[in-house]
Subunit: 238 residues, 2 copies
């Protein structure tokens, strides 16, 4: 891929997801999710908005309160495994693999991917608890992780999962480029940003040790939508 291509960075990340599919830890449907994210990222101008930055700061403050876990799927592993491990260290919360298209082989490959990226411990393979009511494979969780921890970071949307995590009384932080998604609406904090930008930013913000002052997710979502609407209105090819 030529470096001068107008969509170079975007195409590079797309290739990473395709590589994850080839390696076997990312589902091919992860490519669809990635494409959907690409479109919303166009609308954001492919940069972190002030709203996303505020959401990242609130998210880090909540994660630093402890009793948190970082959920990971195949797209996270493909796009930013190293950065996710760094965030896990910075906020002292373990990574738990939680897959919609769960197979033993994918679980093993995911675990290897995060261990190779430097993770000390990767939860999710134990499968000794369930999210009550959730029908998909994502119901299978770790009693030391998603099942018992109060705060769960869920990058990339899955409306059903978010719904049932909320029913368990959890504090859900989502990273989701789609401000229309059920996840975006139901989460306590929704970071409307690309994970390849949001995750490193969160790690950086953790060093400043921000404190929790509450967060108005509905207002923040409206802000992100306004950014997208403004970019649409600007009628510039991105």
């Amino acid at each position: 891929m030529p470096k001068g291509h107008p969509r170079y960075e975007s195409l590079l990340y797309r290739e990473r997801v395709a590589d994850g599919v080839k390696a076997g830890y990312t589902s091919s449907i992860g490519l669809v999710a990635h494409g959907r994210g690409e479109a919303f990222d166009y609308l954001l101008g492919e940069k972190t908005s002030d709203y996303a930055r505020a959401a990242c700061e609130a998210a880090v403050a909540k994660l630093l309160e402890g009793n948190a876990v970082l959920s990971a799927n195949g797209n996270v592993a493909a796009l930013c495994a190293e950065e996710y491990v760094a965030l896990s260290s910075a906020v002292n919360a373990p990574i738990e693999i939680n897959l919609f298209y769960r197979t033993p082989a994918r679980m093993r490959l995911m675990e290897q991917r995060f261990l190779r990226a430097g993770a000390k411990q990767v939860l999710g393979t134990l499968e000794d608890a369930e999210v009550p009511g959730l029908e998909s494979e994502r119901r299978k969780v770790d009693s030391r992780g998603i099942f018992s921890r109060r705060t769960v970071l869920v990058p990339l949307e899955d409306g059903d999962r978010t719904e049932y995590l909320k029913k368990m009384g959890k504090f859900v932080i989502a990273i989701d480029l789609n401000p229309f998604s059920r996840t975006a609406k139901m989460a306590d904090i929704t970071i409307v940003d690309n994970i390849v930008r949001a995750v490193p930013l969160m790690e950086k913000l953790a060093a400043r040790n921000p404190k929790w002052h509450g967060f108005d997710n509905a207002a923040n979502l409206r802000g992100s939508m306004a950014v997208m609407a403004k970019n649409l209105g600007a009628q510039q090819p991105i």
Copy 2:
């Protein structure tokens, strides 16, 4: 997939593309393109706007003037092969397979797919001409089709291809859910709609034998963007 799922239809079409990948005629990168389309289709409210309908009508009028060809890729084959063949008959323009990830096996599978869908003739496998300047595999075209015909229908974006088809002096009609794309900007007519809706609508419109009265593509694109911006502003989960 349960019929009551809020995203049933959308998930069904996604599965069709995934099936195309399994069958071997759709590239896995076609899943990314499909996901991107899903996002823009959310913003359209998943229905054909008045702007898209006007663009379809102008497109059909131009196609009915003759000397036209309908380009096809793996996503078209996966999503609406039968409907594309019906359009091809209705406007009396042949289908030509033109692939970015071109391999002999995919070309053969694509040809079989369209023949099975009822096509009398499928161009593209001959590979006896090139689009001057275009570097990708899409440069390989048929002397009886894309190379020599005046009007080319290109569903689903590829900015480079559109650029070089325009340099050949062709009249380019695009079907592209992304009104920001280079294709959308460079084409003479851009139908901002989902191909699963636009292609059957075009076939229906052909029966009314519309006449060409000119078309302001920039104004039409602004209209589609305004529809998306309005939906974004409505702040409803779709």
